[in-house]
């Protein structure tokens, strides 16, 4: 995970002709939560702006370092690859890639070179001319009944997918809990069965499928060492009380 930030810093988010400053702020926050920091703005209608600052929360540094450009070409300078987000299908469709696959592709390139993700205006998206400057068109799979994804939400989804692509690339070490040993679990099952017979829940002459069912339930849970201790302790107390009665 040590090189994630240098990899993610090779990815820039380009917001093209964004109307609402609030969306720029929300996009900055969305980026920062996923480890992205390089924001480029092409002709934002209002920027800098108090509303952008307010919605950025603690990602105002991303806004502070944002670069403002007059053309998309300028915003893409230095990049070897650009992907444009588009809700619409075009007549002359660009190669359109699955979001997830696209994120993997971008991360792959970003390990050594700079790439861009381009988001268009809230109302009309990216023009065909702007899309033509991208090598790839990405379409987030919205519901056909309501395709109007907020631009900062689209940034959030893509930033998340980029981060997931980074995380799944390197095998992350997870902290595995201490599981109970199988022989100790077997011992527990024996004790449990005896106890269920003692409290007259299990009829040894007609055991049906009770123990197999219980085994299946605990097999699914993958008991931890400490949990097994608790269960054994409970059994002990049940037996103590049940014995008293029988005596």
């Amino acid at each position: 995970m040590k090189n994630d930030h240098s990899l993610l810093s090779n990815i820039r988010i380009v917001l093209d002709h964004t109307s609402h400053p609030g969306n720029i702020g929300s996009a900055a926050r969305a980026m920062k939560t996923m480890g992205l920091s390089r924001l480029h703005l092409v002709e934002p209608r209002r920027f800098p702006h108090a509303e952008a600052d307010a919605l950025a929360c603690d990602a105002r540094d991303v806004l502070g370092e944002a670069q403002v450009h007059t053309t998309l070409d300028e915003a893409l300078r230095g990049c070897v690859f650009a992907a444009g987000l588009s809700a619409r299908r075009r007549d002359l469709a660009h190669p359109c890639m699955d979001v997830r696959e696209a994120a993997q592709r971008l991360v792959e390139i970003a390990t050594t070179q700079e790439v861009a993700l381009v988001f268009g205006n809230e109302a009309y998206g990216l023009s065909n001319e702007e899309l033509s400057k991208c090598q790839l068109m990405i379409s987030i799979p919205t519901d056909s009944a309501y395709t109007s994804l907020n631009v900062a939400s689209a940034v959030q989804i893509m930033a998340y997918e980029l981060r997931m692509a980074v995380l799944t690339e390197s095998g992350a070490a997870s902290d595995t809990p201490k599981f109970a040993r199988l022989e100790d679990i077997e011992f527990f099952y024996q004790r449990l069965e005896e106890t269920l017979i003692r409290i007259q829940f299990l009829d040894p002459d007609h055991p049906k499928r009770l123990m197999p069912r219980i085994r299946r339930m605990f097999a699914r849970t993958q008991l931890e060492k400490e949990e097994l201790s608790i269960l054994m302790g409970i059994l002990k107390q049940i037996n103590l009380h049940a014995k008293h009665k029988v005596d």
Copy 2:
């Protein structure tokens, strides 16, 4: 794809103690773009509210049909599975699943039964007690330098992952077992606690972390209807025997 909507309508989004009405509106829009429609609110600070309407855009119908509750239990009624979003790692960690894997699991269950995704308050998230009512904790992998994901953004990411899970699902009808309802599981926990006190395993004056541990264990196993019946039957017998002793 024809049954996607009925599947997605088995998934409810629960916003718990949300402070800002704008976030409720944005969440509704995020949901609708991904085909989700069932919104449940637990004690929202201000709702309905003009700001919620404004940010929902054309997803105001989702707000209009939102159900408002006074408790999380009420909001989860009828569900067989609930997953809680949490930024923090807990001492006694719930089974914490990868976002993507969790989405697949939820979609799998939602093919036949109702499930919930629970999002906490903007400032303090979900309490441990609230999380204990969930079978699964989901942690969106934010950057350690800035983990403060907006709640509507978290809804957007999860809604997107649910949609992706639906789209990528092979369509192979898996035979999901009949799970126990959450309210019935809560009732079991109550009875179990009483029983453990009765057999003197649990000291009500020093309960330590016993019940949370047991909840966590059963949360992992995701109890089936029939298994819960078995467990309730066992409790009944234990009490029968323990009572005799006390008398």
